[in-house]
């Protein structure tokens, strides 16, 4: 294959990755923005979403599309429920102290991972795509499902954006983000907002996982990479800024795709992690964030 088509393939792979990454990272960013909690267990919520998708699709009779749609509805609700429970039982009792919550979410990470290993087992298992359809380019064929992932992610992200900017609940969330005490003074139930935001962040990770699972199999250790990459995206985009997160997801997803295809995935990750560390040191508001 010539360089041009090869680059196109790399960019398309990068775009799929960027779409899923954007969903996962927006969940992480939302939780950090509103609650000031760095959720190290975010990758495990992603993993739980994928595992839940496997259970739902293998339990549903009928064509794969039915099971897939069911998974798309059930997995985020289930994972969001677990997250809300974790918020009530653990994070709330720590009073959302930043350092204590990091240690606690590390504990949560281990517990969720082990639970998945015990219940789901150590194997990677595939989930059938809801439809088989190939787009034939002059140089190579490409999976239509992957393009569907990009559009689905874009639709969910638009919905999240509308929810945050246009709905009353979104308004309450943003008010809590800006000033928690003042929000409470105005009669907002901050505890419930926090539980809702934590559940929503985890649910977004679960949606991303359900979308990716027909491409990449469900495995109990699959949470590591999305966690690391979401961190990278959220930090480069500016902690808590949704627009920055989107731009950074595109940037990281595309460059990761290109570097992984032409060089090595490990090298791509080394560069990205070092880049993030340097961004945090020299430009803590993120590349796209405004100076405080």
């Amino acid at each position: 294959m010539d360089f041009g088509p090869f680059l196109l393939l790399a960019l398309m792979e990068g775009l799929v990755m960027a779409a899923v990454l954007a969903l996962t990272a927006v969940g992480l960013s939302l939780v950090f923005g509103v609650m000031r909690v760095v959720n190290v267990a975010h990758g495990e919520f992603f993993m739980l979403g994928a595992v839940a998708a496997w259970f739902v699709t293998s339990a549903m009779p009928g064509p794969p599309a039915v099971g897939f749609v069911a998974a798309l509805l059930v997995a985020p609700l289930l994972v969001g429920g677990i997250a809300a429970l974790a918020d009530r039982l653990v994070l709330k009792r720590l009073n959302y102290d930043p350092e204590a919550t990091i240690v606690a979410t590390i504990g949560l990470l281990y517990i969720l991972q082990q639970a998945a290993l015990t219940i789901y087992g150590p194997d990677a298992r595939p989930v059938q795509a809801p439809f088989e359809w190939r787009i034939q380019f002059p140089w190579f064929g490409y999976s239509g499902y992957k393009l569907f992932v990009v559009f689905a992610a874009a639709a969910v992200l638009t919905a999240v954006w509308l929810f945050m900017t246009r709905s009353r609940i979104g308004l309450v969330m943003r008010a809590t983000q800006i000033d928690r005490d003042m929000a409470r003074a105005f009669g907002i139930n901050v505890d419930r907002v926090y539980a809702g935001v934590f559940a929503m962040g985890a649910g977004l990770a679960a949606v991303a996982a359900v979308l990716i699972v027909p491409i990449q199999q469900a495995h109990y250790l699959m949470g590591g990479d999305p966690l690391l990459l979401s961190f990278i995206v959220v930090i480069i985009g500016g902690l808590g800024s949704l627009r920055g997160t989107l731009v950074a997801a595109l940037l990281i997803g595309l460059s990761d795709g290109v570097i992984s295809v032409f060089f090595s995935p490990t090298l791509a990750k080394i560069i990205a992690t070092l880049f993030v560390a340097l961004v945090l040191v020299f430009r803590p508001q993120g590349l796209f964030g405004a100076k405080q």
Binding site: P98, E99, A104, Y110, I111, K269, T273, V276, A277, L278
Partner: protein, 309 residues
């Protein structure tokens, strides 16, 4: 005085213990002593200076790989051990120069990212490091002068010597003026700055000493147990010292040892019942942070043993 006596007594007990322990626990205690040195280093940064790092696996790994690669290559163990110690210190110094410009949550993430980059680098240069599988150090390369670390008794003595030196140095450090300044940084950075101390240099010093400890533990672990692998540079080995220190009591000299010992045997005992080690680690972290944020010795210090350093 009481404190010094207590620490010397612990070393004496560990010395005597080797004559009565069955072989299995004999090896375990050596392991715990070396890991306790790692935890002590972590405690100097986290417990005393208030630097919550999530990247100490980098320093441990730097010591381990430097020592392991030198011992299997041209050098001898006698050279590899101090080189490993220095590598850990140098890595911590370099990370500190950048990471200490941030604080709190950012500091945690920056150290995490540097450690992750280090871990991925080990994987990337798999041709030299053996990647995920790691490599075994041949027994011939593990002789520290006349002491062959691949045999039980010299290994125990080497572990005990390292532990004793590290423990007494730690005690001396926290009682010295610079140790007091480190605690002052943890308690109130602004006020310490007003009193004329430079937070950056004090923290850099603490982090570098912490790195020297971690490097020493990593190098000793490689030479004593003859295996170097990427899993020792992975995130798990940044979390474990945090767990040990939290369990034993942050900001106490003996806490890291107590934490490492308890956790080691907790996992050891639980593995006869269940294979879910990770669950034990996770539940322990949650329980500590929720119910006992001061750890075992921290709680004892609050309840009467005020002299505990």
């Amino acid at each position: 005085m009481k404190a010094l006596a207590l620490h010397l007594a612990l070393i004496a007990v560990l010395f005597a213990l080797q004559f009565v322990l069955p072989p299995y626990h004999h090896t375990n205690i050596v392991r715990v002593m070396v890991l306790a040195v790692f935890a002590m280093g972590y405690n100097i940064a986290f417990g005393y200076t208030g630097l919550l790092s999530l990247g100490h696996a980098l320093f441990f790994g730097a010591g381990m790989y430097t020592a392991g690669l030198l011992a299997t290559g041209e050098g001898t163990a006698l050279l590899a051990l101090p080189a490993g110690v220095l590598a850990g210190g140098a890595a911590a110094f370099a990370v500190g120069l950048l990471a200490l410009r941030t604080a709190g949550v950012s500091f945690m993430i920056v150290t995490l990212m540097f450690a992750q980059a280090g871990y991925l680098t080990v994987l990337y240069f798999g041709a030299f490091t053996g990647g995920d599988e790691g490599f075994v150090i041949p027994n011939a390369a593990r002789a520290l002068g006349p002491f062959d670390l691949s045999t039980d008794t010299p290994r125990y003595f080497a572990g005990l010597a390292l532990f004793a030196v590290a423990l007494l140095a730690n005690l001396a450090l926290v009682r010295s003026p610079i140790g007091r300044v480190m605690v002052a940084m943890r308690e109130n950075e602004e006020r310490s700055r007003m009193l004329g101390y430079n937070p950056f240099t004090v923290k850099l010093f603490a982090l570098s000493v912490s790195g020297l400890y971690a490097g020493a533990a990593g190098a000793a672990y490689a030479l004593m147990f003859g295996y170097v692998g990427a899993s020792f540079a992975a995130i798990q080995y940044s979390i474990l010292p945090l767990l040990w220190v939290l369990l034993g009591g942050a900001g106490t000299v003996l806490g890291p040892f107590v934490g490492a010992l308890l956790m080691f045997y907790l996992i050891d005992l639980s593995s006869s019942v269940t294979t879910a080690h990770q669950m034990v680690v996770g539940v322990a972290l949650l329980a500590l942070v929720l119910f006992a944020p001061k750890g075992v010795l921290g709680a004892l210090r609050d309840r009467g043993l005020k002299w505990l350093p």
